[in-house]
């Protein structure tokens, strides 16, 4: 066996008490992240993908709370001390680069501040490292003294990535890092993430709603539906041979530049994702599933063959 995984999440459950009952945006989710790996989280709005990322680093806003399960980072269980890992060992990149940067401070100062907060270095050394981290994301280190508004959207997102990487974390959680960007810029930003992963041996959790981004960037992918893990596996496998009917539908309904078909209709999944206060019993996907059986209505399927939470796999195995 190789070394233990960098991150292991077991049966994670996040709850939000509301007046109308307890909502469960993340329900019994388990996965691992290996060292140097890019793991993708894909799903539609409300699937729980961002919430899972936030739970790992303890960024769930009250009244929400982690109600069950554990997060093991580098061999230690993370509990109340998640804040200590944030920045130093786990970096975050959010969707909107404008709100992640302080508009009144030069980016060099913001980078140096982060570096000095987490690493025991002097001001001069911190500035040197700040310049190096800008270089690493493909920006001119001479622009340390520029303000965030002097950069374009794609450059700003690269500054945010530099900021997340400044303290040399082992894991970066990137939540929809390219959603606000044009495709040409998106390709650059994803390129930077991939390169850093390869050069530093850092791991990345990439949260996105875009199956194309998953296909081009990640090593493994986890498909989430209504707060639950529907399918997980090597990206190429999941995309060419999805086992869970939701994953099949999601992939089939994604329009791509490859099928410039004239009058073909797109595949569509009937209905829509259930609201968190109305998750059906049994398998959450069964009302929309073409293969739903009696068992799917009653019993929630466990993860089978380490791949998909679907009773069809049990049928095939029998």
């Amino acid at each position: 066996m190789s070394a233990a995984p960098l991150l292991e999440v077991r049966n994670l459950r996040v709850e939000f008490p509301t007046r109308r009952g307890v909502l469960t945006p993340v329900d019994d989710v388990s996965f691992t992240v290996e060292r140097g790996e890019i793991l993708g989280f894909v799903g539609e709005s409300g699937a729980g993908k961002s919430m899972t990322g936030a739970a790992i680093i303890g960024l769930i806003d009250p009244p929400g709370r982690i109600a069950g399960g554990e997060v093991v980072f580098d061999g230690t269980v993370i509990g109340k001390d998640a804040a200590a890992l944030r920045g130093k060992h786990i970096g975050m990149v959010f969707q909107d680069p404008l709100t992640s940067l302080n508009p009144l401070k030069r980016i060099g100062d913001q980078l140096a501040e982060t570096i000095r907060l987490h690493l025991d270095v002097g001001a001069a050394e911190a500035r040197k490292r700040a310049a190096r981290s800008l270089e690493e994301v493909g920006l001119d280190p001479g622009r340390l003294d520029a303000y965030p508004h002097e950069f374009s959207g794609g450059m700003r997102q690269r500054v945010v990535i530099a900021l997340a990487l400044a303290a040399e974390p082992e894991l970066v959680i990137a939540d929809e890092p390219t959603t606000a960007l044009d495709v040409s810029i998106q390709a650059q930003v994803l390129g930077v993430l991939k390169r850093i992963c390869a050069e530093r041996g850092a791991s990345v959790i990439l949260v996105t709603h875009d199956m194309g981004v998953i296909a081009e960037t990640t090593d493994r992918v986890a498909v989430l539906y209504a707060g639950r893990l529907a399918e997980i596996g090597p990206t190429a496998d999941v995309i060419s041979n999805p086992r869970h009917p939701y994953a099949q539908g999601l992939i089939a309904s994604t329009p791509t530049v490859e099928d410039a078909a004239q009058d073909g209709e797109l595949y569509q999944i009937p209905g829509s994702m259930p609201r968190l206060d109305a998750i059906p019993p049994g398998c959450a996907f069964h009302p929309r599933c073409a293969h739903a059986m009696e068992r799917c209505r009653r019993e929630r399927p466990p993860m089978l063959e380490g791949r998909a939470a679907c009773w069809l796999l049990a049928e095939e195995g029998a």
Binding site: D182, S184, G212, L250, P255, E258, D259, A261
Partner: protein, 274 residues
């Protein structure tokens, strides 16, 4: 036969400081040309897509096509009539306006939250004096047409999901029995599986009603399955225009090639032939 024709369409915006400030600071006027000499025509009953990144001028063209913005130069004609002709008599202008409708990007911002769906759909009927006396029946018919039910007329927009709201926007556009609908990023605020539902709905309505679409988007993958012809915009200029299949098979302009290369693919390995 083309129904919509844009000829030398140009729109400039004046971003200058006020006159007094300019006189005091000796700054020059600053003019932004958002759309620069763009010409295209759309065949009746087909979809024409304008594709471009942010700042390419695609939404400015949409606003000129629907008559929300006057061109600085050039013309846009519907069935040979110039929308912005000052000599046009008011009755003809109203008749022309009825035939052009728009579906906006955000189904959250484009529906009045204080109006019931029935009132939202009846408004264009009143405005153009259509279906007098049988508005309720017409509203029910419109809801049915977009896959919603008659009883939804009594509900408010917030009771619907994003995809359902976009269906309401489409029903509102259909209310005035238009020939030409401008869709400005109609699915970019929606999830993938819902996007497929809305795109299929737009296609079905086109087949059934013989509609003509101008489809504005940044997403080449979406237009691959929607449009017959595609125009690629960069910095306000039309850099390439081809039939969809030809454009994807052999893009001519380097910018189009770059856009195609940058678009994420589901099967990256199979793209080696590019």
């Amino acid at each position: 036969m083309s129904i919509v024709e844009a000829r030398g369409l140009t729109r400039r915006f004046d971003l200058s400081d006020p006159w007094v400030v300019r006189m005091l600071t000796f700054r020059k006027k600053r003019i932004l040309t958002a759309v620069d000499d763009v010409s295209f025509s759309i065949e009746k009953g087909t979809t024409y897509a304008l594709v471009g990144e942010s700042g390419s001028g695609k939404s400015t063209i949409a606003r000129m096509a629907v008559g929300l913005l006057a061109p600085s130069a050039g013309t846009i004609t519907i069935d040979g009539t110039n929308l912005n002709d000052p000599a046009l008599d008011p009755a003809t202008r109203t008749a022309l306006r009825r035939r052009i409708q728009m579906v906006f990007q955000s189904p959250y911002a484009s529906l009045n939250p204080r109006w019931r769906v029935g009132a939202i759909l009846a408004e264009p009927l009143h405005a153009f004096g259509l279906a007098a006396g049988r508005e309720t029946a017409r509203v029910a018919e419109l809801l049915e047409q977009v896959g919603l039910s008659e009883t939804d007329a009594r509900r408010f927009p917030h009771e619907f999901s994003g995809g359902q709201r976009q269906r309401i926007s489409i029903a509102r556009a259909l209310a005035s029995e238009p020939d030409f609908i401008i869709c400005d990023e109609p699915t970019s605020a929606l999830d993938v599986s819902v996007q497929a539902q809305v795109l299929n709905l737009l296609k079905r309505l086109q087949r059934e009603l013989g509609l003509t679409y101008l489809f504005i988007t940044h997403d080449l993958a979406v237009v691959a399955t929607m449009a017959r012809r595609i125009g690629v915009l960069q910095h306000g200029k039309l850099v390439e225009e081809q039939d969809t299949i030809a454009l994807f098979a052999a893009p001519r302009d380097p910018y189009t090639k770059m856009l195609l290369d940058a678009a994420p693919r589901l099967h990256p390995a199979s793209a080696t032939g590019r």
